[in-house]
Amino acid sequence: MDEAAAKQVMVLACSGIGKTWGALARETAYELVERVRPGVATTTCLPLLVINDPEAKRLVMEHPVITLDGCPKACARKSVEALGKKVDQPLETIQFYTAHKELKPEGIAQLNEAGLKLARVAADELAATVDRLAAGEQT
C-alpha cells in the first residue's frame, strides 16, 4: 500500500431510504468526506460490496473502515464483515442524537435543519477517530 493510500479511511453509510437515521448516516459521511477530512475520509457505494465488486472490496480490505448505520440491522457493518473484515469503528447514527437531544433529525429525502446540523456535529466529533485510524492507531 503506498503512503497516500495508507492515509485514507473508508466511511461507509447506510443505503436505506426508509428512515431518517439512514439519511443522517449519509449526510454525516458526506460531511466527513467533503468538509471535515477531504482526501483522508473517503467513501464508496455500499451496494458495490453486495455484488462483490473487486475495486470496492479492495478499498475496504486495505483501509481502516468506519460504518455509519441507520438501524440495528446494521447493513453497512455486516456488509463489511461479510468480506471477512472487522470494522474499525462501527456506529449507529442514533448515538449522535442520544448525545445531542436538542438536535432532532426529521425527514428522509431531505433532512430538516436540525438533522443537517446534527450531521455536521457528528462529523466534527468523528474527525479525531478518522485521524487516529489514518495514523494507523486503533480506536
Binding site: 436505506g16 449526510e27 457505494c45 455500499l46 458495490l48 460490496l49 453486495v50 447493513c75 429525502a109
Partner: protein, 146 residues
C-alpha cells in the same frame, strides 16, 4: 392460490458515492410517497446480505423494479443473485440521456438544478410500476406464482 399482486418492490441502488445514487434515492422516495403510494414498497439492497429470509425472499414472491445509478448495476445484479429476477431494470444514465437531461454533479444538497433529473427518473419508475401491475393482472399472476 395466493392474493392478487398489489405491491411492487422498488430496489434502489442508493449509491452513496455517486450523484446518480442521490437521484435514485430521491426519485424512488417520490414514487413511494407521492406518485404510487400503496402500490410500492422499498427494498433496502444491503439487507440482502444483512437481513434474513424475509428480505431475500421478497422478490421471489413479488414483482420488483430495480433502479441503478451506474453501469455496474448493483441493484439489478444483487436482486437477481439473492432473490429473483427483477421484472424491470432501470438505469438512470439511460433515462437522463433519453430525456436530454444533464447528469447531476453533486452528491447532496439537491435543488432546482437537479429537479428535472429527479422528476424524470421518478416518472419512469412510476410508469414501470403501472406496466408491471397491468402485466401481472393480465397474466393472472399471484404472489405465490411469482
Amino acid at each position: 392460490m395466493g392474493l392478487p399482486v398489489a405491491k411492487v418492490g422498488i430496489v434502489p441502488c442508493s449509491g452513496e458515492a455517486l450523484p446518480a445514487g442521490t437521484v435514485c434515492r430521491l426519485a424512488c422516495r417520490r414514487v413511494l410517497d407521492k406518485l404510487r403510494p400503496g402500490q410500492t414498497v422499498a427494498i433496502c439492497l444491503p439487507l440482502f446480505i444483512a437481513g434474513g429470509a424475509e428480505e431475500r425472499g421478497f422478490a421471489a414472491r413479488h414483482p420488483t423494479i430495480t433502479v441503478d445509478g451506474c453501469e455496474k448495476r448493483c441493484a439489478a445484479k444483487a436482486t437477481e443473485m439473492f432473490s429473483g429476477k427483477p421484472v424491470q431494470a432501470l438505469l438512470i444514465p439511460a433515462i437522463l440521456e433519453k430525456h436530454g437531461i444533464p447528469r447531476p454533479t453533486r452528491l447532496r444538497g439537491f435543488g432546482v438544478e437537479e429537479e428535472e433529473a429527479v422528476q424524470a427518473v421518478a416518472d419512469e419508475i412510476a410508469h414501470a410500476v403501472d406496466e408491471t401491475l397491468i402485466q401481472t393482472q393480465d397474466q393472472g399472476k399471484h404472489y405465490d406464482e411469482l
